[in-house]
Symmetry: C2
Subunit: 435 residues, 2 copies
C-alpha cells in the first residue's frame, strides 16, 4: 500500500520571534542568546513531530536589525547544545560557502550528525550581505561568482563526507587494530577554488551524509538546489507564483538525473491564529503596531539589498526599482507583491517587519489548515517552514491547534517513524561514492 | 585572611584514553565519537571539582594515529553539546590561528561562553602539523611566521569580544528599543594579516572574555603565552626543568605588564595508580604491552615533527637529531629525556605511546599525591592537566583516590566557589577596553 503524500514541517527559530517586534508580545521570549528559550522551542517542535528546526546566520550585524539577528549565537554551536537535549527533530543551521573553508564545514556538520544521532542539516548559503566581507578582510564576490564557488564548495563537503566507508572503525582487540585503513580514503580534490586532500578525522555519519538545505531562488541558486539540495526553502506571497516556482525547480532536477521527490520544497509562512478571523487580524495589527519604523527601515534596506531609506514613507514603491545582485528570493517576492497591490513604502515596511518578506496567514486554525492544505495539495510545496511571530506562544498555538487538524486530515504524521532526519524526509541513506 | 595557594586541575579528554592503546584496557571506553563517553568524563570531572576539561584538535588525520586523533569530532561542536549537560566545569577546546578566521573563532567561543554560562576556554594553537595545509589548499607558514599571525589573531579575537559593553541589550518595552547602540562598537582592526571591522553579533560574554589557553614552548610561543594566556599547558619530564620553565614564563610576564599570578601553568601528567607501587608499574607495563609498534611509529614521527621510521628500533636515539620547526615542547622534552637516559627508539616509542611525550607517574595514590604536591609546592607548576590512560576507569581512580588526598592536605578545593571558569581560576572579569 503506497504511503499517502504527507507534509514536512520545519520551524524557523529566532529567539525573539520571527516578527521583528515579536519580543514585545506579552509573555514572549526576550532573547535569542538564551539556550533555555531554544530548548523550549525544540521541545515544542518534537511535540509537533516537526521534521526540523532551523537556525539561520549572517556574518555581520547592526544594532538596528531584527533583535535576533543583532544578538545571537553562532548557529552550529547552538545546535550542538540542542543535540544533547533533543531526540528526534532535525537540526539545521546556515553556514556560508563564501566565508568558510569546506574542510571546516564538513567537520562541523559531520560532528553534529554524530552528536545528534543522525539529525544534522546544513543550509548552504552564499551570503548575500556584502558587509560580511568587512569582517573577513576580503572583497565580496559578485552574485554569480559566489554560486560558482558554492557549487564546488558543496561538492568538496560531500566528498569529504564520503571519505570513510561504513565499518571502518573495527576496534579489533585481538590484533590491536582500531581502524581498517582500506576503508578510509583521501578525497584529493583539486578544483578551481579549492584544493582539499582529506580525509576528515571523523568516521562516516549516521545519515551517511547530513541533509543539505538551500534557499536561493536566482537562476544559479535554483541550479545549485536542483543538483544538490534535499530541502529547499522558498519565499512566496502568491499561490500561482508558488506553483510555478515549485514546478520549475522540480522539472529542473531531471537535468541532474534526480527524481522530483528527492527535494522537499518548504515555503516560509507566518501563521497568526485567532478564535475568529477578526481576532487573528486584530492580533496581527497589534503586532504591527509594535514595529519601530526606524528598525524596519534598516531591515527593509537589507532585505531588498539596496538602501531605500531616502524614499518618503507614503510614496508608492516605484515600479522601476532595480532587482539587486543580492537576494532574489526576498526582494523578488516582496517587490512583486508591492507592485501587484500598489503598496506604499510603509505597507512594504509592515510586510517586511512582519515576516521579513515571508508570507503571513492570519485566520482561525481551520482557515490556516485549509490554506496550508490547499497549497500542499495543489503542488505549491511539500510542506512549510513555519515562522512563529513570537516564541513560545505563537509556536505552541500552531502545534496545538493547527497540527492536530493536519493530522486528522491525514496530511501530517502522527508520530516519527524513525530517529534520523532522513527518516522524517523519507530519503534513503546514501552509500559513499568513494568505495 | 589570604587564601592558601591551591592547585588547578584540568583533564585532557580523548575518548579512547590518553594512552595510545588505552581502549584495549578491560572496561575502557571504545570511542571518542560518542557523546555519552565524553558526558561521563565531564560528570567525573565535576565530581572531582576540576577547573576544566580540554579537547585538543588537529587539522589532518591518518588511520594509524592515536585512535582518538584518527576518529573524533570537531571540538567546539562537541563542547557545545557538553554545555547543556554540565554546570560548573570549564570547557576548553583547541582552534587554530593558522587555519581559521578570527571573526569565526571569536563568535564560536563567545557563543560557547554564553551557552555554558561562562565556562568557555580557547586553546589558541598555531597548528604545527604541516599536513593541515593540504586540507586548506595553502602553504603551511613557517614556525615563526605562524606565531606572528597568532599574535595578531589573538588580539583581533579579544578585540571582537570587547565590542559589546555590558548592558547593551536594554529590551525597553516602552520605546521598543532592544539594543542601546551606544554600547556596541566596531573594532575597525587593520593589521598585517587581518582586516576585521566587527562588531560580533553576540553580546558581551558572561566571563567578559573567555579564558585563553596556550601550549607552545618555543621562544615565540612563550612570548605569546606570557602576553595573552590565562592558562598554559606544558610538557615536562624532569622537576628541575619544569621549575626553570615555570620561572622563565612567570618572569617573562613582567615584560607585558602582567602579574605572575595571572597565568596558571599546568603540566600534563598521566597518573597510573595501584594499591602498591609494584601493582602500578605492572599496570603501566600491561598498557605498554598493548601498544602496536606500527601505530607508535606513525605517532612518534608526528610527535617529533620528522620522519623517524627508518631507524632500527633498538638503536640509540642519536644525539645530533635536529630539533624540528614544528613542536618544540614535545620534541624537546622527549629528546632531552631520551638523551639523558640513553634511550633506544623502542624506549622512546614506549614513552610516546604512553602519554604522547607527557610525564607518566606510576604509584600508589599517596605516592602520586606526594609527587604532585612536591611539584606544586616547589613552583614547578600551578596545578596539572591530568591525562588518564583510559576512560572512565583511570580518571575515576584519580578523582576518587588522589583528589581526596589533595583536598585533605588543603592543596585543592573541596567545592566550586563560583559557576564560571574564571571563578575557578581566581581571575577577575575584565572590563571591555573599547568603552
Ligand atoms: C527561509 C530562508 C532562510 C534563509 N536563511 C539564510 C541565512 O541564514 N543566511 C543567509 O545568508 N541567507 C539566508 N537566506 C538567503 C538565501 O539562502 C540566499 O542566499 C539568498 O536568497 C540569495 O540567493 P538568490 O540570489 O539565489 O536568491 C535564506 C532564505 C530563505 C528563504
Ligand atoms: C597539553 C597540550 C595540548 C596541546 N594541544 C594541541 C592541539 O590540540 N592542537 C595542536 O595543534 N597543538 C596542540 N599542542 C601543541 C602546542 O600548542 C604547540 O602548537 C606546539 O607545541 C608548537 O608550538 P611551540 O613550537 O611553541 O612549542 C598542545 C600542546 C600541549 C602541551
Amino acid at each position: 500500500m503506497p504511503q499517502p503524500r504527507q507534509m514536512h514541517l520545519g520551524v524557523f527559530v529566532l529567539g525573539t520571534g520571527n516578527h521583528i517586534a515579536g519580543w514585545r508580545w506579552p509573555g514572549a521570549a526576550q532573547s535569542f542568546e538564551d539556550l533555555s528559550v531554544v530548548q523550549e522551542i525544540a521541545r515544542i517542535a518534537e511535540r509537533g513531530k516537526f521534521d526540523l528546526i532551523f537556525l539561520g546566520d549572517n556574518l555581520s550585524t547592526d544594532p538596528g536589525m531584527h533583535p535576533s539577528f543583532a544578538a545571537r549565537f553562532e548557529p552550529i554551536t547552538m545546535l550542538a547544545a540542542l543535540a544533547a537535549t533533543t531526540t528526534h527533530v532535525g537540526l539545521g543551521a546556515t553556514a556560508s560557502t563564501t566565508y568558510n573553508e569546506p574542510y571546516t564545514v564538513a567537520r562541523q556538520f559531520a560532528s553534529l550528525d554524530h552528536l545528534s544521532g543522525g539529525r544534522a542539516a546544513w543550509n548552504a548559503v552564499t551570503s548575500s550581505g556584502e558587509k560580511a566581507a568587512l569582517n573577513y578582510g576580503r572583497e565580496h564576490p559578485r552574485h554569480d561568482a559566489r554560486y560558482e564557488i558554492a557549487e564546488e564548495f558543496v561538492d568538496v563537503v560531500r566528498g569529504l563526507w564520503d571519505c570513510w566507508d561504513d565499518g571502518a572503525v573495527v576496534r579489533d582487540h585481538a590484533t590491536g587494530r582500531y581502524i581498517d585503513p582500506a576503508k578510509v580514503k583521501p578525497l584529493d580534490h583539486e578544483g578551481r577554488f579549492f584544493r582539499v586532500k582529506g580525509p576528515l578525522p571523523t568516521s562516516r555519519c549516521p545519515q551517511g551524509q547530513p541533509i543539505v538545505l538551500q534557499a536561493g531562488s536566482s537562476e544559479p541558486g535554483l541550479n545549485l538546489a536542483a543538483r544538490t539540495a534535499d530541502v529547499v526553502f522558498t519565499v512566496v506571497q502568491d499561490l500561482g507564483e508558488a506553483q510555478a516556482g515549485y514546478q520549475a525547480l522540480k522539472s529542473r532536477m531531471a537535468r541532474f538525473g534526480r527524481h522530483p521527490d528527492e527535494i522537499a520544497v518548504l515555503p516560509g509562512v507566518m501563521p497568526v491564529l485567532g478564535s475568529t478571523t477578526a481576532e487573528a487580524r486584530e492580533k496581527l495589527n497589534r503586532l504591527q503596531g509594535f514595529v519601530n519604523p526606524g528598525n524596519a527601515l534598516v531591515m527593509l534596506s537589507s532585505r531588498l539589498g539596496q538602501d531605500v531609506s531616502h524614499y518618503p514613507l507614503d510614496a508608492l514603491v516605484p515600479e522601476d526599482l532595480p532587482l539587486p545582485d543580492t537576494s532574489h528570493g526576498f526582494a523578488g517576492a516582496m517587490l512583486a507583491k508591492a507592485w501587484r497591490e500598489r503598496m506604499t513604502w510603509r505597507d512594504l515596511f509592515n510586510l517586511a517587519g512582519a515576516a521579513r518578506g515571508h508570507w503571513v496567514v492570519a485566520g482561525t486554525p481551520e482557515e490556516v489548515a485549509d490554506t496550508l492544505q490547499q497549497w500542499f495539495e495543489s503542488r505549491a510545496c511539500d510542506g512549510f517552514n513555519i515562522l512563529p511571530a513570537w516564541f513560545p506562544g505563537a509556536f505552541e498555538e500552531f502545534v496545538d491547534q493547527v497540527v492536530p487538524l493536519l493530522q486528522r486530515r491525514g496530511l501530517y504524521r502522527r508520530d516519527y517513524r524513525g530517529n534520523m532526519l532522513r527518516d522524517h524526509l523519507g530519503l534513503p541513506r546514501p552509500r559513499s561514492r568513494l568505495f
